[in-house]
């Protein structure tokens, strides 16, 4: 037992006794001393009362309104952002494909030779075996290729005319179609496809930027 003086125990031991600390209660020398010492007994009693008073100190209300739960993101404003995020990649891919196809078509690779190739292949399948090459531009003799309607007919015919014309020795037949008018129409179609692709790309990036800048933080409130 630590003693602050030969006569009295260490005050910290009295404090331990005041809170009924098991170890202090078991210290026979301490309890015997307090039982016979009025000064130490008063100290233990005061400390006991002090502990009771401290345990009764009431709660206090905060001086300002506190936020009981953290804020949550607004579901309505979040929904379209999620949709934009999910649709971004497919729309970009579609836009790039349209832009590529339209660009290539407009520069003539598919617009003339490419479609002509299709047309020639189809024609060779549908024409009699005895006729190795066409010598006229009679539209009724070889079956035209069905490329899905809208794109196939004028382009195929124009290409067909050109190819067959060159096959015949470069002379223009009397019944030949006007290549210039149909070529311009085709190019417009391809350009429209390319423009549509470009528009999709721009739209996708603009929407993504708007959704990213408009998202609100959902962090914890300031303390």
């Amino acid at each position: 037992m630590t003693m602050s003086s030969p006569a009295h125990p260490d005050p910290e031991r009295l404090s331990a006794l005041a809170e009924a600390d098991a170890e202090a209660l078991g210290d026979r020398g301490l309890t015997d001393h307090v039982a016979g010492c009025a000064s130490c007994a008063v100290q233990v009693r005061d400390l006991t009362i002090l502990r009771s008073a401290l345990a009764e100190l009431p709660d206090r209300m905060p001086p300002r309104r506190l936020q009981y739960v953290p804020p949550v993101p607004q579901p309505a404003s979040r929904g379209w952002r999620v949709a934009v995020g999910r649709a971004f990649a497919p729309v970009v891919v579609a836009g790039m494909v349209l832009l590529l196809v339209g660009g290539v078509g407009a520069t003539g690779v598919l617009g003339s030779d490419g479609l002509a190739l299709f047309d020639r292949q189809a024609s060779s399948e549908g024409a009699p075996a005895a006729a190795p090459e066409y010598t006229t531009t009679d539209n009724s003799s070889p079956p035209s290729v069905d490329l899905g309607g809208a794109v196939a007919s004028p382009a195929a015919r124009a290409s067909d005319t050109e190819t067959m014309g060159s096959a015949a020795g470069g002379e223009k037949s009397p019944g030949a179609t006007d290549q210039g008018e149909l070529g311009a129409g085709d190019r417009t179609l391809w350009l429209a496809l390319a423009a549509l692709g470009l528009g999709l790309l721009v739209l996708a990036f603009v929407l993504r930027r708007v959704s990213a800048s408009g998202s609100s933080p959902t962090g914890r409130p300031a303390g």
Partner: protein, 203 residues
């Protein structure tokens, strides 16, 4: 939810009548249930933070931090008294603020008399007795503020809020022996500081 009124009488908050159900709902993600718990215990949490920090704004910040921490970790609550669990979180939040403040230049605790509301006594039987009790509580809080910070923290956590030595040691990250010593020295110092309040020590 009403705005808190600092002048409103505040007592020691007991558990809600349907507390287990409310806590279970809050743990299941019911924000309304969680808000109800925090509203109910805000006086207890703020009181602890205020006694540890001695500053109303810092105490409100600590209480707010504790609410957020409790919201994030309520699923780790494993039963027992919810008030004690929340008070431990508040004590940790307050002690974090205290440690940050210690790394900055020392500031004096504000005067208790400046702008602090009186505390009503929940046990007073008459207005006169309530007044006496209120004065005693004010004297106790004023004396607590005069303790060295390490003793004040230990005494507040142990004697005012009923934490055992182990809980206090965990909160202030000190050995149990150190905690005991701080508590005992703090009590003895309090007794000296309150020597001019003889009514406190009357039976």
């Amino acid at each position: 939810m009403s705005d808190p009124d600092p002048s409103r009488p505040s007592t020691r908050t007991g558990p809600l009548a349907d507390e287990p159900a409310v806590v279970a709902a809050a743990a299941g993600g019911d924000r309304t249930a969680f808000a109800r718990l925090m509203e109910h215990y805000q006086g207890a949490c703020y009181g602890l933070a205020w006694r540890l920090l001695g500053d109303p704004d810092l105490a409100a910040d600590a209480t707010q931090d504790a609410f957020i921490h409790a919201y994030d970790h309520i699923q780790s609550y494993r039963g027992g008294a919810f008030r004690s669990w929340l008070l431990r979180i508040t004590a940790n939040a307050s002690y974090d603020i205290l440690r940050r403040a210690q790394r900055r230049p020392t500031t004096e605790l504000p005067d208790l008399e400046a702008g602090e509301p009186d505390i009503a006594d929940p046990h007073a039987a008459s207005p006169a007795m309530e007044s006496v009790r209120s004065e005693l509580y004010r004297a106790l809080d004023a004396a607590l503020r005069l303790l060295p910070e390490d003793q004040r923290t230990a005494v507040v956590l142990c004697d005012v809020y009923g934490m055992d030595y182990q809980e206090v040691a965990l909160t202030i990250q000190s050995p149990v022996g150190t905690v005991k010593s701080r508590i005992h020295r703090g009590r003895l110092r309090l007794r000296e500081l309150l020597a001019d309040q003889p009514e406190l020590f009357e039976d």
